[in-house]
């Protein structure tokens, strides 16, 4: 990004070298429309999303070439998407938080808690405590409980961070432990295993025109997130707070309220992810989400969202979710030990952050 301010125009004189004085100070940018508008191509190559997107496409192409019969298949593509769906929902929320220059370590535990809350509710209203045969009403109640309990954890995080000014790292480290502990207290540490078959068949394994319903839900969440972040005042304030919180406050943006909303939104999405996970796995998988937070953060940062705040995109996050997923699948299929996957992801991640840092330094010291 650092270099894209320059050569877009041959005619417009830069502010510093133009003449001075009252008489000629307007000649440089004649007319409102006289300012150079970057072409679509310049915008494209200027965006870090473009380059990280190329990496994803290249990875997909390489694995397809190495294993043309088993990698680029519809089935493989579907599984890839389904397995990434839950993480994608978490990462969309994480994108908002990181853009405010915050962090949320609690998403995996909140997911577990919300799954437990939903599953236990569905069991509680079913005869004999077995929810396997439960109907639509019970499922809807379970979904509601998952969403509400997820949002409640998010609200708690947001209030502690924004109102009580406790650093997000500490607050969400706390709720990371507390939400998981609470889930284990509720269940006695034993996974809830009776999940309505109707839920598993519809959301967990269902498809419409070859599109798995898990993927459909994740896609809707992603599109909504992209819309909210990039076209609304809510998104604009999210960027502004991450870019300069004090400036946002001075222009009258209610920073406290906005941060509470952002963390509640993430909690809500973690609740939804918990319910999706329940539908897919058919159990609460209490012990299975201890690194979800780090995966979501890695995906978000990989996608070009800056840990320093103020910069990021939902599209980037989508790409950031799929790079590790493609590596994982690809390594398995071409017969590389899958233990290489975390190593490869880490290398790409550190490189991505290094580029981000370099870009910022170039900009800040630049002019």
């Amino acid at each position: 990004m650092s270099g894209d301010a320059e050569t877009t125009n041959g005619t417009v004189v830069t502010g510093e070298t133009a003449g001075t004085g009252a008489g000629n100070s307007t000649v440089d940018n004649e007319g409102g429309a006289g300012l150079p508008r970057r072409t679509a191509w310049q915008r494209l190559v200027g965006a870090s999303t473009f380059w990280i997107g190329l990496v994803l496409v290249a990875l997909y192409a390489v694995f397809s070439a190495l294993s043309p019969n088993s990698f680029p298949t519809l089935y493989n593509f579907q599984t890839l998407l389904i397995e990434a769906a839950v993480l994608l929902v978490l990462s969309v929320g994480m994108t908002f938080v990181i853009i405010t220059s915050g962090i949320d370590l609690s998403v995996g535990s909140v997911l577990v808690f919300a799954g437990v809350a939903g599953a236990m509710t569905m069991e509680a209203v079913s005869p004999g405590g077995d929810a396997t045969q439960a109907g639509v009403g019970t499922i809807a109640l379970g979904l509601l409980l998952s969403l509400v309990s997820g949002a409640a954890w998010g609200l708690l995080n947001g209030l502690l961070i924004a109102r009580f000014k406790i650093p997000p790292l500490i607050v969400t480290l706390g709720s990371f432990g507390a939400a998981l502990g609470a889930a284990q207290l509720l269940t006695g540490g034993v996974d809830v295993r009776t999940v309505p078959a109707a839920l598993r068949d519809s959301l967990g394994f269902g498809q419409t025109f070859q599109v798995p319903h898990m993927v459909l839900v994740a896609a809707v969440v992603t599109l909504f997130g992209a819309w909210l972040l990039h076209t609304t005042t809510f998104g604009r304030y999210t960027f502004a707070i991450g870019s300069n919180e004090e400036a946002a406050r001075r222009v009258g943006i209610s920073v406290t309220r906005h941060l509470v909303f952002v963390y509640t939104f993430v909690g809500l999405l973690a609740g939804l992810a918990g319910f999706m996970s329940l539908a897919y796995f058919g159990t609460t998988t209490i012990a299975g989400h201890s690194t979800d937070n780090l995966n979501a953060i890695a995906a978000t940062v990989l996608g070009g969202t800056s840990l320093f705040g103020g910069v990021g995109s939902v599209l980037g996050t989508v790409i950031g979710v799929f790079i590790p997923a493609v590596l994982q699948k690809g390594f398995v299929i071409v017969g590389v030990q899958p233990f290489w996957q975390p190593i490869a992801v880490s290398v790409v991640l550190v490189a991505a952050v290094w580029f981000d840092q370099k870009r910022r330094r170039a900009r800040d010291s630049g002019r």
Binding site: M1, D4, A5, G15, G21, T232, F234
Partner: protein, 253 residues
């Protein structure tokens, strides 16, 4: 012509320190008043009181002759009083139009607007128009303003205040970090704003700059107004004398 914004006998204490000891101040529509004084004279505190960032312990603030209570910067802004802060207070990752409209975003019409959707094209168009009429140089409207030069960034910060101010703009050392050419541009913007009938209060340590752009000068010393001058008639010696206490006009306070 009567005062547009007037402070009478403001007192502000921070613990045992008296930052303002009965300070008075006034600015009329369509003039540039330079507020000068040595470090610790109370300039910043006075501006904070008049822009809603602080509340004075006693004294009166009048806007167009009516007493007002400025309990927050938001209240002050709603009354048409804007401030350009020394530390800029822009969002470096946002583009110039987004910064100009920060907190006052234009929304689309109809349902989409009620859902919170921004009208980015219109904001961009109007921002370009504002920058043009103010003579603010912006190299590109598509880059984050952190990528612009210090002068251009300052131009955006100044523009943001003056576009919305319909009564008074406070500028705290707006040219402190700028080079000669950039400084001249900002002074130029100040003159243009004054010509639209808005009152400009300029806090500055730079005496040649004060003499170049101000219509009047008010001097603070030890939390009080000690002198008032018409800029055209005043010499550098008189300004320095008033700031240091060597010269005082008894009637000014």
């Amino acid at each position: 012509m009567s005062a547009l914004l007037e402070a009478r006998n403001l007192v502000k204490r921070y613990g045992s320190v008296e930052a303002l000891r009965g300070a008075s101040f006034e600015v009329r529509a369509g003039e540039v008043v330079a507020l000068i004084g040595d470090n610790g004279a109370g300039k910043s505190t006075l501006v904070k009181c008049l822009s809603g960032a602080e509340r004075p312990d006693s004294g009166e603030i009048l806007l167009e002759g009516r007493p007002v209570v400025l309990d927050s910067p938001t209240t002050a802004r709603q009354l048409g009083i804007e401030t350009v802060y020394q530390d800029l207070a822009v969002a470096p990752e946002l583009d110039p139009a987004a910064n100009l409209y920060l907190g006052r975003e234009l929304r689309r019409g109809g349902l989409l607007g009620r859902l919170g959707m921004l009208d980015k094209a219109e904001m961009r168009r109007r921002a370009a128009e504002h920058f043009r009429t103010l003579g603010v140089q912006v190299q590109s409207l598509d880059v984050p303003i952190g990528a612009l030069s210090g002068g251009q960034r300052q131009g955006v910060a100044v523009a943001r205040a003056v576009v919305w101010a319909n009564k008074v703009v406070f500028m705290d050392e707006p040219t402190a970090a700028l080079g000669v050419v950039q400084r001249e541009r900002v002074l130029d913007v100040i003159r243009r704003v004054r010509d639209t009938g808005v009152a400009v209060v300029l806090i500055s340590h730079n005496m040649p700059e004060v003499q170049a752009v101000a219509d009047r000068v008010e001097v603070l010393r030890l939390g009080r107004r000690v002198a008032r001058f018409t800029a055209a008639d005043v010499s550098l010696e008189q300004l320095v004398g008033a700031m240091t206490g060597a010269l005082s006009q008894e009637d000014a306070a």
